[in-house]
């Protein structure tokens, strides 16, 4: 895996850069999800993306396309009348999980591939996954610069959004689609639970420590990238699955949430 100390074999360049981009990007979306009290929606979308990816595998279609379709289906459900609630997000988790497991059990995909989607297959990422992640970054960064003030104002002053008579649904839907794309691409690359962990834990840590919103974004991304780097090399070195290694490292950071707080 390493030709000499500090130098990574070329076959790991694509996976490394793919994961690095996602590790920097997902926590910024996670911060907005947490502020909107929609972090459970991320888990729901990830399950639907995984189910979509498995369906694509069963039909001999690209996993990424299936994952994106699954996540966008979740966005459609979320946009419905009763779609924005923890109960609805829990239904998304259960529906995605059951669909994925049943697909795996009743198709040639098999449980091994189902595990690959759930646990992640980062080390098998190629230039397609890297392109998808880079494309995602190119869309998400500029979109968030425009969306963030509107989403935060909408969250903290929802009545004002109504009073101003602006078509706020456009930016809420826009954000939902961004999250769906990010979750789908991340699920196809690093796996279901690792994607969720990157959306959830760095934000939780940053929310408790940061002094302002800008610092919240920087801190969450920094935590995520550091955990990712450690997980990438530890999993390779000790021949461990990447997704669980990353989740374990992030969970180990959680005591920092309460540390030093009054």
């Amino acid at each position: 895996m390493f030709s000499r100390v500090g130098h990574m074999d070329e076959i790991f360049h694509f996976p490394f850069l793919t994961g690095l981009l996602l590790a920097a990007l997902l926590p910024v979306l996670g911060n907005l999800l947490r502020l909107r009290d929609e972090w459970l929606a991320a888990l729901g979308l990830a399950h639907l993306a995984a189910a979509g990816g498995l369906l694509a595998l069963a039909c001999a279609l690209p996993v990424m396309a299936g994952a994106i379709s699954g996540a966008l289906l979740g966005v459609a459900g979320k946009s419905g009348r009763a779609g924005r609630s923890n109960s609805a997000y829990a239904v998304m988790v259960l529906a995605g999980w059951s669909a994925g497991m049943l697909l795996a059990a009743n198709s040639a995909v098999g449980e091994a591939l189902a595990h690959a989607v759930v646990d992640g297959q980062l080390y098998f990422s190629g230039h397609g996954e890297l392109l998808a992640s880079a494309g995602l970054a190119c869309i998400v960064w500029p979109a968030l610069r425009w969306l963030t003030p509107r989403l935060i104002a909408g969250r903290l002053m929802p009545a004002q959004e109504k009073a101003s008579a602006k078509a706020a649904w456009r930016w809420h839907l826009g954000f939902d689609i961004l999250v769906a794309l990010a979750v789908a691409i991340a699920t196809a690359c690093v796996g279901l639970m690792a994607s969720f962990a990157l959306l959830f834990i760095p934000s939780w840590l940053a929310f408790s420590r940061a002094r302002n919103w800008r610092q919240t974004n920087l801190l969450a991304s920094a935590i995520s990238v550091l955990a990712y780097l450690a997980a990438f090399f530890l999993a390779l070195h000790f021949d461990q699955p990447f997704g669980p290694t990353l989740c374990a490292l992030l969970v180990l950071l959680l005591p920092l949430v309460g540390m030093g707080k009054k």
């Binding site: 104002a153 002053m157 929802p158 101003s164 940053a206 302002n212 919103w213």
Partner: protein, 191 residues
Amino acid sequence: MSLIELEALVAGYAQPATAPCSLRLARGEIVGLWGSNGAGKSTLLKALVGLARIHGGRVLRSPGLQLTFLPQAPVRLAEMPLTGHEFLAFAGADCLPPPASLAARLDQRLDALSGGEFQLLSLWASLAVGADLVLLDEPTNNLDLAHLTLAREEILAGSSTRGCLVVSHDRDFLDALGARIVNVQSGRSHG
């Protein structure tokens, strides 16, 4: 010319909740909606922004009227890693410089502010967006005597450039604003 005119407006939810109310409000005016608990003061205000139903009467708005609305209980999350500066910037509340007493606290995270400080900040966020008409629902909630004075100063700052419709159960506060009083129970102006 009036910014907004209510003609025998009856507001409510599934059922009507107010007596007919008529009023006119022009730029530079402050109108206080006053009445007993349950008279429907807040419901009337909500009807103007589509958060309650209009059961009767009508609302006439000047063309292109920009409204802003401070609800009775501004959203206060358990975790808000934003400073007051960021909150005002995201809300687009940059038409007026914040009062000195508020400016001194704008570097704090929102969840580190007291209830009164957060109420004053939310009030300022509604006033400084440059809307033609500001609707304030019980803006004195959570405010002690010192904060009441600050709230009055905030509302009066730049008041000549906008109209202001204030719901309050505190008649003294409305009088201190120099508000024309509309009794919601009768729906008739006494000012």
